[in-house]
């Protein structure tokens, strides 16, 4: 051995293009392994949840263990249906982007449960501070596909007046905040929102999502500090889908044993959950929501999942990870797993599933057709050009009025 000297290291993922992926090294606990603590449990007593993995659905599609959320068959079917619809919506929008009807798109393949189950576990009045990959939550909240599409193609019916990049939805009427392109900014904002709710004596809490890569931003630390300091009634989610564009989560995570474990230093509960297990995500979110509503303060939830598709329509993932890595992902597909569970319960069957898929395809096709009647990105009509100068201030100051006149509109 040579003499010891300081040296740095740059983490690299286990697999790059050309490698055969395999995830046996993860060594995650089995579904049903963890006990469900009291909702007001002392954060220091439940640290193991940050290093483990809360799971409910086992390999035989049974709901096992303490965390089984006891969702009714109707609730489970609704969840499954929303996930399938989200997937069909994503598929269609990607195709439309490929034919240049959209300037850009981002799918949520494989991560549908993270958004849908969490939202189902919250109240309709709870405020969502999503990233750009929780479209399932927006659909769960009841957004009409045609409205989502009209936003994505910036046509005359786009409620954002053509100002925003596709998938950066804003829906105040659905208690859905405004998706920002700037990573992580929503995390501390969610904390502030939830504090205002508590200050006003209201029961609504806030729930936010950021990606694994985004935990590196200062705003993650800001949110955790605020939430801890003020005991804010907020549910903070890290969607660990393993990748941040081309960067493996080891670049943001470093030597940390989990993203959930980052909560420990702040003295708040950190729970890692199987993000592809609808029941587990619902159960953990419900636990965190009850805790927040009961005065127990914030929870950090890491949803362990896998980004099934490209980051966005701007990158080709086969350039930085094995093409078949998703197939090797050990936690399966959230849709398939919930479907199997419902079938096992005798509450769903293959025929119903196919029928629902067909219905979704049709609904998406119909919505798209309708969306186009309000205009397209390329041809318009868009919101009238003068609206470009509105909403900068409450009232238009002289310089914007002049600029509008200079443009001749």
């Amino acid at each position: 051995m040579g003499k010891a000297e300081p040296r740095i290291s740059v983490p690299a993922p286990a697999f790059r293009p050309g490698d055969t992926p395999g995830f046996s090294r993860l060594g995650l606990p089995r579904p049903g392994h963890h006990a469900r603590p009291d909702i007001l449990a002392d954060a220091a007593e439940i640290r193991d949840l940050a290093f483990g993995l809360v799971g409910v659905l086992d390999e035989e599609a049974n709901a096992v263990g303490d965390w089984a959320p006891g969702l009714s068959p109707e609730e489970l079917r609704a969840g499954l249906k929303t996930m399938v619809l989200t997937r069909e919506y994503d598929n269609r929008m990607l195709k439309m982007q490929r034919t240049k009807r959209l300037s850009f798109y981002m799918k949520s393949l494989g991560e549908e449960a993270v958004a849908v189950a969490a939202t189902q576990a919250l109240d309709a009045g709870d405020m969502l501070f999503p990233s750009y990959r929780q479209q399932g939550a927006l659909i769960q909240r009841g957004a009409e596909l045609v409205d989502m599409m009209c936003h994505c193609i910036s046509n005359s019916r786009d409620n954002l007046k053509g100002r925003q990049l596709p998938v950066h939805y804003t829906r105040k009427d659905l208690n859905w905040f405004s998706v920002s392109g700037n990573l992580g900014t929503q995390f501390p904002q969610a904390v502030g929102w939830s504090m205002a709710s508590a200050l006003k004596g209201e029961t609504a809490i806030a729930c936010s999502w950021i990606g694994d890569g985004t935990t590196a931003e200062g705003d993650f630390h800001a949110a955790m500090t605020l939430a801890s300091t003020y005991n804010a009634p907020v549910v903070l989610n890290v969607v660990n889908n393993q990748w941040a564009i081309s960067m493996h989560n080891s670049i943001s995570g470093g030597k940390a044993p989990s993203f959930a474990a980052k909560a420990i230093g702040y003295g708040i509960p950190g729970i890692r959950v199987d993000g592809n297990d609808y029941l587990a995500v619902a159960a953990v979110t419900r636990w965190a929501a009850e805790r927040a509503r009961g005065g127990g303060g914030p929870t950090l939830i890491e949803s362990y999942t896998y980004r099934g598709e490209a980051h966005s329509t701007s990158d080709d993932p086969s350039k930085y990870r094995p093409k078949d890595e998703y197939e090797a992902w050990p936690l399966g597909d959230p849709v398939e797993r919930l479907r199997a569970h419902l079938i096992k319960l005798g509450e769903w069957d293959g025929e119903q599933h196919e029928a629902w898929q067909a219905e979704c395809k049709q609904a998406v096709a119909d919505a798209w057709k309708e969306a186009l009647t309000y205009g397209t990105l390329e041809e318009g009509p868009h919101a009238p050009v003068p609206t470009m100068f509105e909403d900068v201030f409450t009232a238009q100051p002289w310089h914007l009025r002049r600029q509008r006149q200079e443009l001749g509109v």
């Binding site: 990049l165 990573l183 590196a216 931003e217 200062g218 941040a244 868009h382 100068f389 900068v392 310089h399």
Partner: protein
């Protein structure tokens, strides 16, 4: 001579410096294995290893602070910020630290960091992938700010920034990566292939900081532009039949007031172009300095053609972008002013 697009020219600049100077490092989000979301660092990690070219966590403040720390300890880091729109989490490190360390330590510490970042619109990027935030940075004492308009200058200027002992912010107009863009979105994408400024030497050469380039000589009016707007100016002058003298500033700080003033003293008229919003934009600085230096030569008010004072919209980006028509109108108005 090899023909390169702007991305290749930038890669080549870093390649040259990484090869000849061990102190040079390159890092940023997606910069390592993937080679950057625009591919500007493609191939460099493979060539120089992951201890010299590597991915950085998504934290722009961290990236800039790390670069500064390295630079104060003898390195020459090139930090990439994925989009200029995302530089602001690092703003404090730039304005309070990176650019002041020489001054506050009375020269004991210096931080020769180069920050590269793509800027500008015209790619349907919406408000978070389109900004031209240069004016925030030209307002910071101690920061070199550059923005090329073609591959040849891009490589030479980037090498100058890397070799400079001052921190430098290097803006890359992303709409020019693949070819010159004259502001007409309906034309097919052009290429640098047949462009004289697409001829880029393989090795080390520099385009000096602080020296503008007169890209078209003329006598009717001086146009001061940089980045994408240089190409818009050329096309607009051509279309309008105005004998404009078009100056590509290339370096914004320190800018080449001599070349600008000499030209305005000759033409007596001046139009300033930038894609960034108008109010407190870099054009305001230029207009103020030009009227101080050229007051007795001016025969018309100095005009600015710029982006509007709104965030960059998605659907209406071509109503926002200061295109040929608006530039032509300003040229005409200025030339005809009696």
């Amino acid at each position: 001579m090899p023909q390169m697009n702007m991305m290749q020219a930038l890669t080549s600049a870093m390649d040259v410096k990484l090869a000849e100077d061990e102190r040079v490092l390159a890092f940023g989000e997606d910069v390592g294995y993937f080679g950057g979301v625009f591919g500007v660092t493609r191939g460099l990690q493979e060539k120089y290893g992951s201890s010299r070219v590597f991915d950085a966590p998504i934290n722009e403040g961290a990236i800039i602070a790390m670069a500064m720390g390295m630079a104060t300890n003898g390195m020459r880091p090139i930090a990439e910020i994925q989009f200029a729109d995302y530089i602001f989490p690092g703003f404090d490190q730039i304005i309070s630290e990176l650019t002041r360390i020489r001054y506050r330590s009375a020269g004991q510490y210096t931080a020769p960091v180069t920050i590269r970042t793509p800027c500008g619109g015209g790619i349907y990027g919406g408000q978070t992938h389109s900004m031209s935030p240069e004016a925030f940075f030209t307002h910071i004492p101690g920061l070199v700010v550059a923005m090329p308009s073609n591959p040849y200058d891009a490589k030479g200027l980037l090498i100058s920034c890397i070799e400079s002992d001052d921190p430098a912010l290097f803006f890359e107009p992303k709409r020019l990566y693949n070819g010159p863009f004259d502001g007409d979105p309906n034309k097919p994408q052009s290429s640098w292939k047949d462009h004289p400024k697409g001829e880029v030497p393989e090795g080390n050469y520099t385009v000096p900081l602080g020296v503008a380039d007169v890209v078209r000589e003329g006598s009717d009016v001086t146009v001061v532009a940089y980045g994408t707007m240089v190409h818009v100016a050329l096309a607009a002058a051509e279309a309008e039949g105005v004998d404009a003298e078009i100056i590509d500033l290339r370096t914004l700080i320190p800018y080449d007031i001599d070349t600008v003033a000499r030209s305005v003293q000759k033409t007596g008229r001046c139009v300033i172009l930038h894609e960034a919003p108008r109010t407190s934009g870099f054009g305001a600085e230029l207009a103020a300095q030009i009227q101080e230096d050229c007051f007795y030569s001016l025969e018309a008010p100095i005009q600015r053609v710029t982006g509007w004072d709104t965030p960059y919209p998605h659907a209406h980006e071509w109503s926002y972008f200061p295109g040929q028509e608006r530039v032509a109108r300003a040229l005409k108005k200025t030339v005809e002013f009696a």
